[in-house]
């Protein structure tokens, strides 16, 4: 009797801890927003909200793809280069219609993802190495497509194309809407479709999943294609926002995406993952930069933009340390 009681107690504590670690990031995000709202004029303005979402939607999108990949126990280092490559593809296709450009950019990203998935699933090469190689390859393709120019001009007469990155829909910035739609779909896919359940299962134990009859190769292919396609969409947004395809942009974005996923509480070992926490993680990392800008604007302290990465790194450390503490307690209980 006692043992069942203790077991129930333990289960309750574990649940509490996991809720804490999940909502802790959300609480931090809300606290930071409240702090910003109280301290800075213009922080809660529509203008700040809109520019924040416009820029950070790209990081949200690649973080979502990264979240799915990491759930399967993999990693996708190629997303930053894919964003750059797709932005060039989008710019090159912009004279042929906005939706051609949209399709082209997403397809180009998905193709890189397909290649990633194929190499990982069929050749059995580690995800880290595979996507490291495609990181280099996609960057090379981006530069080749751009003919080694710094940027590829967008057809500015194509107003729909410009709308993708700079327009509004129901007073919300279009990139933000795209991101939210993608996250809703991602959350549904994770909870309610075989694809999502199986992706989690693979991360939890690949051999066991195989024995259960899951088509491990196909699911892996799926997550990398998803990650590539989302990076492609981010590339479209980038090209539309800056008015040019950017073959040299996106350097190190893959690591920002990994940081968002980690801050969101998803372990890199796979088998767990929360789409919403990843969104919160991405927004939190973006918000730190936003707050820093406002703080500088107040003129009391003047931190150079270079402090941004120092603070982000310190923040990442803080979060992962707290998480590993929680995880260890969970393991002990």
């Amino acid at each position: 009797m006692l043992s069942t009681n203790a077991k129930a107690d333990r289960a309750k504590r574990t649940r509490l801890l996991s809720t804490l670690s999940q909502y802790g990031v959300l609480a931090a995000l809300i606290l930071l927003i409240v702090f910003g709202a109280l301290r800075y004029t213009g922080f809660m303005s529509e203008y700040n909200f809109s520019t924040f979402l416009r820029y950070n939607a790209m990081f949200g999108l690649i973080s979502l793809g990264m979240c799915f990949v990491i759930m399967t126990g993999g990693i996708d280092l190629s997303v930053g280069s894919v964003v750059a490559m797709s932005s060039v593809v989008a710019a090159l296709l912009s004279p042929y219609g906005a939706f051609t450009a949209l399709l082209g950019a997403v397809l180009a990203g998905a193709l890189v993802g397909l290649l990633n998935g194929w190499i990982i699933a069929r050749l059995g090469i580690q995800p880290f190495i595979t996507t490291l190689a495609t990181l280099l390859g996609a960057r090379g393709l981006a530069l080749l497509l751009a003919r080694n120019q710094g940027g590829v001009g967008v057809d500015t007469s194509n107003t729909v194309f410009t709308w993708f990155g700079q327009g509004d829909l129901l007073r919300l910035p279009v990139p933000g809407v795209m991101m939210i739609v993608a996250f809703v779909l991602g959350a549904v896919a994770l909870r309610a479709t075989p694809f999502g359940r199986h992706a989690l299962a693979i991360g939890g134990g690949e051999d066991a999943s195989k024995l259960m009859g899951l088509n491990v190769g196909r699911i892996k292919l799926g997550v990398y294609v998803l990650s590539g396609a989302l990076a492609g969409l981010a590339g479209l947004i980038l090209a539309s926002q800056l008015g040019a395809g950017q073959p040299t942009e996106g350097l190190g974005w893959e690591l920002s995406a990994i940081a968002s996923v980690v801050v969101g509480g998803t372990l890199l070992t796979g088998g767990t993952g929360s789409v919403w926490s990843t969104l919160v993680g991405a927004m939190l990392l973006g918000l730190i930069f936003n707050i820093l800008n406002f703080e500088n604007g107040k003129g009391i302290i003047s931190l150079s933009p270079y402090w941004q990465s120092v603070i982000r790194g310190g923040f990442l450390l803080l979060v992962v340390v707290l998480q590993s503490r929680l995880a260890r307690q969970k393991g002990r209980s």
């Binding site: 190495i129 150079s304 402090w307 990465s309 982000r312």
Partner: protein
């Protein structure tokens, strides 16, 4: 008790017989053959290829990658990875000029130069220790642990100089990147010494055995008395120290230090060299010579393509293909 463990862990020289340099070279034979094929191809089809100048150009370009890749080989052999090397190069690179250009050393230039060689490398090593502590004490996964300094490290370098470029003409310092004793670039000599040392450490020292044991099976290594945490701490420290040295070489070659540029992307080049060289990313193996040849192959292919007028962007695509093909071939060979 501890005596027994020590004997067990000591390299068994007379053991399997596969310990010698020759046997090691045999293991990386495919890499050597590819390298030879590239050399022969270039000898015939690239004008002025067989010149000391071409050799020096290639070796000076690849020296820093090889130096960093030696540390990376050790880290990867323990089952870890170090993403922070490029950022640590930047930190070391901005510290050195701050020291030897400092007015405080105006009258004691020798001391300034000496400190400029020692302090930045030690600082980079200290950051490496920090990486190691993240991994051992905080139990962070190596990718996440070193991601912290990858992000923050370059920021620290930029904050120190406020993102400003530091230019200098200090022959005593730039010797590390531009000096040519006996016609051989100084950093190439340094690189060869570091490769030889790393090879010796892996093959002939207890520490080398420990590194492989930790990467092979951490729990088993711990149970048989290997100081797992100390070994891990040490490999990240070594990786940091070597990144520090590479940072000094890069700024010496450029005669300027740019926090935004020094070491940019170095972590990828180093990991690629290790992977092409045949060290498994899952740990337990360290192909020091393989890493050396891996880096040389990547460099020579890039040089060949550039010499043939292929743009650098296309060379990137080829580099990607080489990494995949090389690793795929090795995995097939291992399975057979």
């Amino acid at each position: 008790m501890s005596g027994e463990i020590n004997t067990a862990a000591r390299p068994a020289r007379s053991g399997s017989g596969g310990q010698g340099l020759l046997a090691d070279l045999k293991q990386v034979l495919p890499s050597i053959l590819i390298l030879l094929a590239l050399l022969i191809f270039n000898a015939f089809f690239t004008p002025y290829f067989l010149s000391v100048q071409t050799l020096n150009v290639n070796l000076t370009q690849v020296a820093t990658i090889i130096i960093v890749a030696m540390g990376m080989t050790l880290v990867i052999a323990t089952g870890g990875v170090d993403l922070s090397v490029g950022s640590l190069m930047a930190i070391s690179g901005v510290l050195a000029p701050l020291i030897f250009l400092n007015p405080a050393f105006a009258s004691l230039q020798g001391l300034g130069i000496a400190l400029a060689f020692v302090v930045p490398v030690l600082v980079a090593g200290a950051f490496g220790v920090l990486n190691g502590l993240f991994v051992t004490r905080l139990k962070l996964q190596p990718i996440v642990a070193t991601l912290v300094l990858y992000i923050a490290g370059r920021g620290i370098a930029q904050v120190i100089t406020n993102g400003q470029l530091q230019s200098f003409t200090t022959p005593a310092f730039t010797y590390i990147g531009l000096g040519r004793p006996f016609g051989v670039p100084f950093q190439v000599i340094l690189m060869l010494i570091i490769v030889a040392l790393t090879y010796w450490v892996v093959k002939r020292t207890v520490f080398g055995r420990y590194v492989l044991a930790v990467g092979g099976n951490e729990t088993a290594a711990g149970l048989s008395g290997v100081p797992v945490s100390r070994v891990k701490l040490a490999v990240y420290a070594i990786s940091g120290l070597l990144a520090g040295i590479a940072g000094l070489i890069v700024i010496a070659i450029n005669s300027s230090s740019d926090a935004n540029q020094v070491g940019q992307g170095m972590e990828l080049d180093a990991i690629a060299a290790v992977a092409v060289g045949g060290t498994l990313l899952s740990g337990g193996r360290a192909q020091v010579l393989g890493t050396l040849f891996g880096a040389l192959i990547i460099q020579l292919i890039r040089f060949t393509l550039l010499a043939k007028g292929v743009p650098d962007a296309a060379a990137l695509v080829v580099k990607a293909a080489i990494i995949v093909i090389a690793v795929a071939l090795q995995q097939r060979r291992r399975r057979e």
